[in-house]
Point group: C2
Chain length 447, copies 2
Amino acid sequence: MARQRIAIIGAGPSGIAALRAFESAERAGEEIPEVVAYEKQDDWGGQWNYDWRSGIDQYGEPVHSSMYRNLWSNGPKEALEFAEYTFDEHFGRPISSYPPREVLWDYIDGRVRTTNVKDKVRFSTAVRWVEHHEDRDIFTVTVEDLKNHRTTSSEFDRVIVATGHFSFPHVPEFQGIETFPGTLHHAHDFRGAEKLADQRVLLIGASYSAEDIGVQAFKMGARSVTMSYRSGPMGYDWPEGMEELPLLERFEGTTAHFSNGETREFDAVILCTGYLHKYPFLPSNLALQSGNNIYPAGLYRGVVWQGNPKVYYLGAQDQWFTFNMFDAQAWYVRDLIMGRAELPTAAERAEHLQDWHRRFQGVGGDADAVRFQAEYIRDLIEATDYPMFDLDEVVRIFLAWKDDKKKNILTYRDKPYRSVMTGSLAAEHHTTWLQELDDSLERYLST
Amino acid sequence: MARQRIAIIGAGPSGIAALRAFESAERAGEEIPEVVAYEKQDDWGGQWNYDWRSGIDQYGEPVHSSMYRNLWSNGPKEALEFAEYTFDEHFGRPISSYPPREVLWDYIDGRVRTTNVKDKVRFSTAVRWVEHHEDRDIFTVTVEDLKNHRTTSSEFDRVIVATGHFSFPHVPEFQGIETFPGTLHHAHDFRGAEKLADQRVLLIGASYSAEDIGVQAFKMGARSVTMSYRSGPMGYDWPEGMEELPLLERFEGTTAHFSNGETREFDAVILCTGYLHKYPFLPSNLALQSGNNIYPAGLYRGVVWQGNPKVYYLGAQDQWFTFNMFDAQAWYVRDLIMGRAELPTAAERAEHLQDWHRRFQGVGGDADAVRFQAEYIRDLIEATDYPMFDLDEVVRIFLAWKDDKKKNILTYRDKPYRSVMTGSLAAEHHTTWLQELDDSLERYLST
Ligand SMILES: Cc1cc2nc3c(=O)[nH]c(=O)nc-3n(C[C@H](O)[C@H](O)[C@H](O)COP(=O)(O)OP(=O)(O)OC[C@H]3O[C@@H](n4cnc5c(N)ncnc54)[C@H](O)[C@@H]3O)c2cc1C
Ligand SMILES: Cc1cc2nc3c(=O)[nH]c(=O)nc-3n(C[C@H](O)[C@H](O)[C@H](O)COP(=O)(O)OP(=O)(O)OC[C@H]3O[C@@H](n4cnc5c(N)ncnc54)[C@H](O)[C@@H]3O)c2cc1C
Ligand SMILES: NC(=O)c1ccc[n+]([C@@H]2O[C@H](COP(=O)([O-])OP(=O)(O)OC[C@H]3O[C@@H](n4cnc5c(N)ncnc54)[C@H](OP(=O)(O)O)[C@@H]3O)[C@@H](O)[C@H]2O)c1
Ligand SMILES: NC(=O)c1ccc[n+]([C@@H]2O[C@H](COP(=O)([O-])OP(=O)(O)OC[C@H]3O[C@@H](n4cnc5c(N)ncnc54)[C@H](OP(=O)(O)O)[C@@H]3O)[C@@H](O)[C@H]2O)c1
């Protein structure tokens, strides 16, 4: 049998995990398939590959990253650590639990920097269209080399979709919003809180983006920060100048009317209303359709597309766990592809899917969701040779983190956690998050 | 022979011109091909269909329109008037020469409002991929219905590309720009000048966007407006508070360094650096590659793709003339498709292309370019039954308009011109452009 050809779409943390999974089998002496990863940006790292542009990038493609200059990890790094490449190994000394974006990019990059996997990535290359040919059970992947505008098509036996799902903003309509004359955009296009200094800022949404852009705006001297929720308030003990209000009902110029009858005047509005799962390069029978949740329908074990089990998705879930979950998924998908793990029949998969979907529907509240995701990961790791780690302890870290945030939303990032991989305790950082105005790697690593 | 099937991609002014061209043949009793237009927005009008969103739209697609609330025609309407549907006919009375966006949308829409052509448009439907099958000389057009996420493919004999070329911003790199902390985006994402009140604004570029966003910002009370040119200054007699500087060399935080050694501090930067010709739904052998110029290479008579003469482009040129030029192109393409005009051989087309390309290269300066485009249109109209109009007089209108701008960049929009179609003189508007703060159709038509 000819060597299989595998296309990976996207080289963010998930796509890199897939590359790493194959490389690790190769290092163990196995013959691996021919792997080609397509990445539309000039470098890898996905969301962590910061772009000062917003909207459209230098190639005319939608800007991928939603991250901003001031972004720091919003969960302890001990919850996302790779089981087979630790922070201690990368940095050679303990660092704090909540590093800024550039530091985490360095860590992701560091794991694969010295391997040959970068050669397998076709950078600045956007996947335009994927087609499955029933007759030969093969995929044609059509891509555009963005630097020279050439399109080409190649055939693959399997396709791994690793394009993320926090890049296409969900931008709902609000009555009268077209009359708002101030700064107005989605969190996806937010690049830094400095421009909000002295402004009256409205953030619509009540999740991580609203919370973090809120505290960033506060940190940078916004005159006021109002957060508007639909389902319920975040309920943190906000500092003076920050408040939560129920849903925004309509705008009249600079005036916003809320559902409790209150009104406020604003200079800037940022829609923190989440993202769309969107795969514009896939025909609808291969494209996942899902909201942002921890068990998207139609994915066996969260990764195998039930409609065509030669299509895989990585990182398609809402994310408590991130990097190590992507690893667990990638190792399992690799083993399916290489025949090291067996794919159950369609009927068995459907049953398994139903079973987990039922469990998912029983999940009540965040603590439960974290445990659910931990069990999901355990199930994957058990099927592979990825190093098992203490998932229960990570669950405890997540719960303590939530507690820290409840106690003080402005200081939770200053607390150190202990690595479940190495047992070593994180460093206390030289500067508290609230006082630190320089988010660079250089500054972070300075002592 | 079976009835031909024609796909039109895009229902902006150019796509509507194509629909109208076929409808006009049908009204004259001819049997027309089966025509399907795909339009990714919920309504037609292209650039003139304003979207308050920037970056990404409600379906996760790149926002198409680059227009802003405050946008008014920047050339006299007498230069763009349809030869077969006049402003007098539409509005029933003279209006001024420079109407705001909503008024022009109404005019475009009005021509086809009472026809059946809207039924031929599949709205909220994005073209994803076009493929030409050599063996059967047929095109497969794959589209996504954005409301229900369904992709479908259909076969067509010919494809008309009418997707415009002012929607994918050209966003070049500038040294240090990632350190600029203020408002920063491309003109494509500009939605209104009100937010620039009291700000020190830098516009990079020296063409229509820089000029008009500049005067809009001035009108709305910007503290200062600086425009930075690469090739040469616009050279208008700017009011106090507006200035032109040579090319921006680098940013250091809020400080911009210019190539003449000067520096300035800014609160907001808007890149008015033009747009990319981009056709992400086309394989590279069908995709036009061009800068923004009045005679893009590879298009016979500016419309027939030399690489495959069953592919047509409308409105692919830089635009002095707009609506009536799109009409002339659409009528000619219709006649080619319906066999009413004869397509020369590939060799003859190549020769014609070379000939016009040589003429194009001889064009020196704006007045020459306007004349060139007028001759180009004359050549097209002569080949069709589109009503010929006094192109020489329109050239004179353009030259007078340029003169008006030289005289006073803040008042040129107050001057009335005479229609070459009806001979009637435009109205003097009830309010001067500089004093008018309401850009709505309702206000415009109020007396
Ligand atoms: C604002 C924000 C902050 C976050 N902060 C944290 C945090 O603090 N901690 C944490 O653990 N997680 C965080 N996340 C979660 C983040 O999603 C994950 O950490 C991680 O980046 C997901 O990896 P991924 O590879 O699945 O997707 P992505 O990182 O999104 O990478 C997808 C890659 O696919 C490429 N791609 C997309 N389409 C195409 C195409 N058509 N052709 C070719 N390539 C394509 C993209 O360019 C990109 O490189 C954050 C997310 C957001 C949006
Ligand atoms: C800021 C700005 C101001 C302007 N002001 C003036 C002015 O004052 N006067 C003037 O005469 N001209 C002006 N123009 C020029 C303008 O380009 C033309 O007036 C006209 O809109 C061009 O028509 P079009 O149909 O060729 O392209 P567009 O108007 O761009 O329309 C293209 C259409 O194609 C659709 N489309 C794109 N991709 C897809 C896809 N993949 N699938 C389905 N549909 C798709 C879009 O949604 C859009 O509706 C301005 C342009 C800009 C950018
Ligand atoms: N490192 C960091 O500091 C950081 C910062 C930002 C984001 N992130 C990450 O980015 C990812 C995305 O987070 P996110 O907050 O952008 O998205 P999200 O978690 O999906 O939350 C979307 C929010 O938008 C609200 N919403 C949606 N439609 C709405 C409507 N029509 N009206 C009002 N509210 C509406 C939702 O309310 P309902 O609850 O009512 O549905 C929800 O609160 C997460 O993984 C997060 O961890 C990290
Ligand atoms: N109705 C209105 O009021 C209105 C308003 C805005 C726009 N428009 C229309 O919109 C269309 C587009 O106009 P536009 O001005 O956006 O684009 P444009 O006419 O293509 O001009 C692009 C400008 O960007 C400059 N530029 C490109 N790359 C640069 C770089 N790296 N550094 C510095 N400058 C750079 C160009 O300079 P060089 O000359 O050196 O190449 C040029 O000045 C036109 O049809 C126009 O009529 C109309």
